[in-house]
Subunit: 371 residues, 2 copies
Amino acid sequence: MKIGDQYYQSLWVKENDPEIIQIIDQRYLPFEIKIRNLKTPEDVSTALEDMFVRGAPLIGVAAAFGVYLAVLKHRNSRNINFKVKQAAEMIKKTRPTAVNLANAVDRMVKITEKATNIDDKIQHTFDAAQNLMREEVNACRKIGEYGIKIIKRISSNKGRDPVNILTHCNAGWLATVDYGTATAPVYLAHDKGISVHVWVDETRPRNQGSRLTAWELGQHGIPHTVITDNTGGYLMQKEMVDMVITGSDRTALNGDTANKIGTYLKALAAKDNNVPFYIALPSSSIDWTLKKGLNTIPVEQRDQAEIHYIDGLSDKNIIEKVRITPQFSPALNYGFDVTPARLITALITERGICKATSKGIMKLFPDKLLS
Amino acid sequence: MKIGDQYYQSLWVKENDPEIIQIIDQRYLPFEIKIRNLKTPEDVSTALEDMFVRGAPLIGVAAAFGVYLAVLKHRNSRNINFKVKQAAEMIKKTRPTAVNLANAVDRMVKITEKATNIDDKIQHTFDAAQNLMREEVNACRKIGEYGIKIIKRISSNKGRDPVNILTHCNAGWLATVDYGTATAPVYLAHDKGISVHVWVDETRPRNQGSRLTAWELGQHGIPHTVITDNTGGYLMQKEMVDMVITGSDRTALNGDTANKIGTYLKALAAKDNNVPFYIALPSSSIDWTLKKGLNTIPVEQRDQAEIHYIDGLSDKNIIEKVRITPQFSPALNYGFDVTPARLITALITERGICKATSKGIMKLFPDKLLS
């Protein structure tokens, strides 16, 4: 998507140097656009763990390139397969919840091991990572094409009033490679002249909503309003929300969905107020091995410093970190919660819209289930 | 309650100078304890509007002293009743949601008008404000005595494990004059040696939870953990919450309760996970004129700057304000939501615990309903 007039992805292979992966370092947004080079699997590991890049689909793509960079790093090693596997394990440990990560890494390790000479290992892992990136972009575009139908339907009932869409966290192009998952239908609707307005949940503690989603939407010219995570329920009580769309970090076969902490609360409020609640996700975020998600999907616990400190722009236009809690108070920082399928109106995938049930998912992805 | 070893209220009459009301300016907590003098009704108005003091019961008490200060200010005016009424209107406009404010101010204006000479006006308004303050302190203590029974019952089922209590916003002694409403049972339980632990919702955008409640509890030595507002639902899914207690800014006769924005989301999660959800409130927060609360209680909309900017302690130990949203993004800042009575397990009042229904409330307060 665009930043100002320039087209960007959240991650790309450096022009004229395929041994360098470039990313937007999202820790500095919306205050600064910093491009960073990733040259080693360790670089990728740090970028994932410290969330230079985040969002399940982008995590998967970055991790895939991480394995490719591990192959490059160890190209002269006699036990390259072992070294790459070690690097892969390191990368896998960085973010336990998003299923895209483990899936992408495992696939890449297999490709590495299958190739018998170093040139093939390099070429095949590079191609596979590139393919995954293209697949994710295509999946997001398709999600947008299916999701726009829902927005159109609501819009035609509302006349000239904008369709009010609430989203939590960032499932935008910064969380994928392009378009986004939850935002793809919104971008497409806006581009087709359908009037939309997005309620952007701030998304504490890392504020991916106010820092990334609001910024993304603003760059694209989409009307939006930042609200605190506490506000969505009241807006629904006041009939100020027409639909909710969020992304997914991992969806089980029964439709239970792990997503950014707080998603479950919005799903409860949506149910209580008869507001449709959608999860937009590429099939790479479905865990084909998991029958149900509640109490089974591993939920990452992150550093409590993310709650104690916050970054912002000082009046001197410098990014400053300030402490916002009492010195003696501990904090607990879970990254995700699990929204039970019963609260989800439907899943919007690259193959269409389905019920958040095993039956619904099986109908769209019979091939995935067989594999 | 105590700050370190020293006993404090959130508001008091200055020793040896009854024409000055002193408060802890809560905008600087937990970083700095600033005492401020209020000498005029305008001082009180600013203190309410800019939230030097906040919390429904404390708002009522501060407003009552505000009318007394108006009487002092206009003691030489020929149309003193008119002037005091004007000042009262100014004070009433500062915070529309807490019913304590309008009730206290109206009562004080009547007392002013009833007294026929200036000495009586001064003495009677001073006495009435003092009485209200004492009533609020007593009510909080009684709420604690009734509420502790609930904690004891849970504790006896849990053995040595602490009772995990989730609270939202600050309904502590800083929100009242002493003890607090939601925190009163917690303080009393802790003092009696019952093991308790409090999950403190951060409470965006003004962070009354992490800034005030966590600080209060810490000063009193009560184990607590700060969590983001997004986290409570997940903790309930994991059975890490035994009960929820919050305060009330205004409770209608049917039990519907306006409280800090986000309370409704926690009530939904509590219901979904069979966690008991209590509202602790003095009867001064009940609106005896309101049959139901949903869509009737006025909900304050505050400055969007509260969402865009946040105060914290810099690494130089200075309080600094930073911008945390993109420059071009608007924000919407509702202060409260309304939790429907059906989600409330019971109300804990100064006269006992009752169902959140007209019947339940009428049984405890038959006299108030007649008046």
